[in-house]
Amino acid sequence: MTWEAVIGLEAHVQLSTKTKLFSRASTSFGADPNTNVNLVDCGLPGVLPTVNREAFYKAIRFGLAIDATINQTSHFDRKNYFYPDLPKGYQITQMERPIVLGGFVEINVDGIKKIINITRAHLEEDAGKSIHDADPNNSLIDLNRAGTPLLEIVSEPEISSAKEAVAYMKALHQLITFLDVSDGNMSQGSMRCDANVSIRKAGSQELGTRTEIKNINSFRFIEKAINFEIKRQIRVLESGDKIIQETRLYDSVKDETRPMRTKEFANDYRYFPEPDLLPIVISNEEIEEIKNNFPELPKHKKIRYLNDLQLSENDAEILSSTKSLSVIFEELLNTGNNAVLAARWLVGDVSALLNKDQIEIEESKLDAKLISELLKNIENNTISGKIAKEVLEECYQTGASPNSVIESKGLKQITNTNELQSILQDIVNANPEQVNQFKSGKDKLFGYFVGQAMKATQGKGNPELINKILRELLAK
């Protein structure tokens, strides 16, 4: 029998605001425990929430980008449950009137395009963090994260494989980073997801019983967790058992999902409108303002790179789809670098270095200023492409500026005609046999002379000049 999977994803995206959704405490990552916590975040008696405008604007930007309906009047609800890192005993979220309704995201798996519809996206506050493994008897509570704005993006159950799920999450990731809605840093928890997975007989219209895998925080784990869960459900059904509707956790060490501890009572979140906040109304003018300041989306960027900048298809695709490279590329254009050259270097040598260490450019020692300096040296013939690779690698390792590397290592290209002339004359003089063979028609030997010249100049000779002078000398 063949089975098909039905998957819906709830992505939780931390918005890159400076302050929290309902307080003006900092959201900075990595602060000492419980230092980014103010009276509101600590949920002390008597405190009240106040709404962060920027969080709304970011949510709206996302909504506009996926062609969703923006609920210009939205309100917050309380979701009531007890957990030690949930200070108030309720989470402020949007149940009844979310800010974003509908919309869609396009994915591409193995060359096949597919539309994934979005049900809704709503704003809510994140909880704090519980640390369970640092103390033998206690769980430790850090409220720094409590109140950080989240956009929860809920997809329709239209995803049919783990691969599609990953493609969908990557598409979301691309959107939120390009829109500056989130830093998208998955290792810091800026994007995580819950997956609702069920299976049914191929072609069936009925939905099977679903399980929810909670809190998956990398693309790789999304794929593995969903694949495991699909296989598990097939095994259960084929052995004649039933799927239990439950919440499961993915254990990346054992590569399996397992049920969370079940409680005697089902949770009942008792949603009701948050009486401490009035409805939030976004005006038409504000929506217009957001539209006018809309960041360029990857698909539009690519068209511009192809048409206006004459980049190759491959370069345009990579530079338009990776936020970090795209930012650097745009800066290089702004500082007057040649677009094609800059693209070639970013997609080529720079990416190769980054890929080797599996890091993003902002995590490396490279930045736009440094790369621009390197490219300028190539363009004005101070160094050759070959030397440039050496310089880049040195800069990548040490963070030194290209100029200082070129200077200290004496890598400046020899562009002095007289100097080259005398070096090349020596080479011609020292190889009479090869000269004769060349003159008798063995054209390939020209490469031999170039090689000798590079060796003699330690690669610093300007290749064009060497070609020109050699041809003159050998023609004599």
Binding site: L39, C42, G43, L44, P45, G46, V47, L48, P49, T50, V51, R78, N80, F82, P84, P87, K88, G89, Y90, S139, I141, D268, R270, Y271, F272, P275, D276, L277, L278
Partner: protein, 469 residues
């Protein structure tokens, strides 16, 4: 007296504190702010342009004051010292008030007799072993006994007005949103409103003008500046007062007589009396007992023994931490209301109870809107009776006590201002009538109450206090 230099600010503060100690058996205070108040009074110089300058004040023990114990009269907050101060307290201190104590109250403001306090009952200064009303019972007792001239209270369903009536005081519940709720520990967020309790409408006006004003820390705070009710206090015009048809026959003969005397006083001052109808008013008590518990069940979830307040000693695991801390920390009335609130919000009951109540709330609010087309203010009794003996009401049937708020609750549901004004005594005990006005009509309410007080002397009577020495 301050103005005539008959007494210095620190003498006044010390006098107030010594009275508080003398009448300790009233049990109207949870904590006396002795050292800080005396230090503050020595540093302050009297400002004759400022009517609240150096005036001793007592705050209901649900207003957070930095480093001063704030308990809501609950075991769960025993010993809790907030790291910040409520906006109301700051506003009053900026106006010159000196905080001398925190007043006893019903636990988390849930009650109408001050009998649910973890720290014991407060006596009515007019009659020992009788209730001062609630939930701002300590506040009313502290003013009625003459310890302080002014106290803050909060009113969720009548918690300022009813104790004011039972203690022969004037108590104002302003329009919802007039006074910041920042730092005021919430009972029911959409109903709670702070206000003053004092002897006269004039004192209430002075206090109100200091307490009000927009606060950016409270999203439900109105976008309005401070009130200026004192300026307009004397500009009373003879308004039309509505008498609620549906309240006919709800009072004992003696209470009815006292209320009729008030009506006659107003008539003699030129006020027109007109019967009006509030067709849905009879649903205000059930509506309130859905909405208030629902909001409180959620508001009180933060008392979980994790970050502050009481934690049970006897815990093995996280469930214990929650269940034991909360069950040992909260009293029975609070538990009852949390349970009711949880029930009306739970799956399957939300529409039938919570949403339904909010719909009826709109009908009640619309009834008021219609009524205010017929009259300027509405005149009602404040409570069905006078003070009653400890443990005499509600011990068998909790709803018996809930009916204490019959006349007061609707103003909270609609968010409109109302005041309780002392009127003729009934069997030698204080009683009050209530003036309810449309949104933002505090000036008219205070003018009218003031006008009444210029022509009556009930508010001037004070209890003997002998039985509390």
């Amino acid at each position: 007296m301050l103005a005539n230099k008959e007494i210095t600010p620190s003498e006044l503060t010390e006098e107030s504190i010594s009275l508080a100690k003398r009448y300790a058996s009233l049990n109207c205070f949870n904590v006396i702010n002795e050292e800080a108040a005396i230090a503050q009074s020595r540093n302050l110089s009297f400002d004759s342009n400022n009517l609240l300058s150096c005036i001793p004040i007592a705050h209901k023990d649900l207003f957070c004051i930095k480093d001063l114990e704030t308990t809501c009269s609950s075991k769960i907050l025993e010993g809790y010292k907030p790291p910040y101060t409520a906006t109301v307290v700051k506003n009053l201190e900026n106006a010159g008030c000196i905080t001398i104590a925190k007043t006893n109250m019903d636990e988390f403001a849930m009650g109408s007799s001050n009998e649910t306090s973890y720290f014991g009952n407060v006596h009515n200064p007019w009659l020992k072993n009788h209730v001062p009303g609630g939930s701002s019972g300590g506040a009313a007792a502290s003013v009625a006994s003459g310890i302080v001239p002014l106290a803050t209270g909060t009113d969720t369903g009548g918690s300022i007005r009813q104790p004011a009536a039972l203690c022969n005081l004037t108590g104002l519940k302003p329009t919802y949103g007039r006074i910041s709720r920042w730092g005021m520990i919430a009972f029911a967020s959409s109903l709670d409103q702070a206000g003053p309790i004092a002897h006269t409408a004039k004192d209430c006006a002075i206090a109100l003008d200091a307490m009000t004003g927009h606060d950016s820390k409270d999203s439900t705070s109105l976008h309005l500046g401070k009130t200026t009710t004192l300026e307009t206090l004397e500009k009373h015009t003879s308004l039309t007062l509505g008498i609620v048809k549906e309240f006919n026959g709800q009072l004992s003969a003696e209470m009815e007589l006292a209320f009729q005397k008030s009506i006659m006083t107003y008539q003699s001052l030129g006020y027109k009396i007109k019967e009006i109808t509030l067709p849905n008013i009879k649903y205000s008590v059930p509506t309130y007992y859905v909405i208030a518990p629902a909001e409180c069940s959620s508001n009180l979830s933060r008392f979980d023994g994790v970050r502050f307040g009481f934690r049970s000693k006897n815990i093995q695991n996280l469930e214990d931490l929650y269940v034991k801390s909360r069950s040992e920390g909260f009293g029975n009335e609070v538990k009852r209301r949390i349970l009711i609130g949880t029930y009306v919000l739970s799956a399957g009951y939300y529409d039938a109870y919570y949403k339904k109540a909010q719909q009826v709330r709109r009908l009640i609010a619309e009834d008021f809107n219609s009524a205010f087309k017929e009259c300027d203010l509405i005149l009602t009794p404040t409570s069905p009776g006078t003070t009653f003996a400890f443990d005499s009401k509600g011990s068998k049937d909790p709803t018996e006590l809930y009916l204490e708020d019959l006349f007061t609750i609707a103003a909270n549901l609609a968010g409109i201002p109302a005041i309780s004004v002392p009127q003729a005594f009934v069997n030698n005990l204080p009683s009050g009538h209530q003036l309810i006005g449309p949104h933002l009509s505090e000036s008219a309410i205070l003018q009218t109450a003031h006008h009444f007080q210029l022509n009556s002397d009930w508010h001037l009577k004070s209890p003997s206090m002998e039985s509390f020495l």
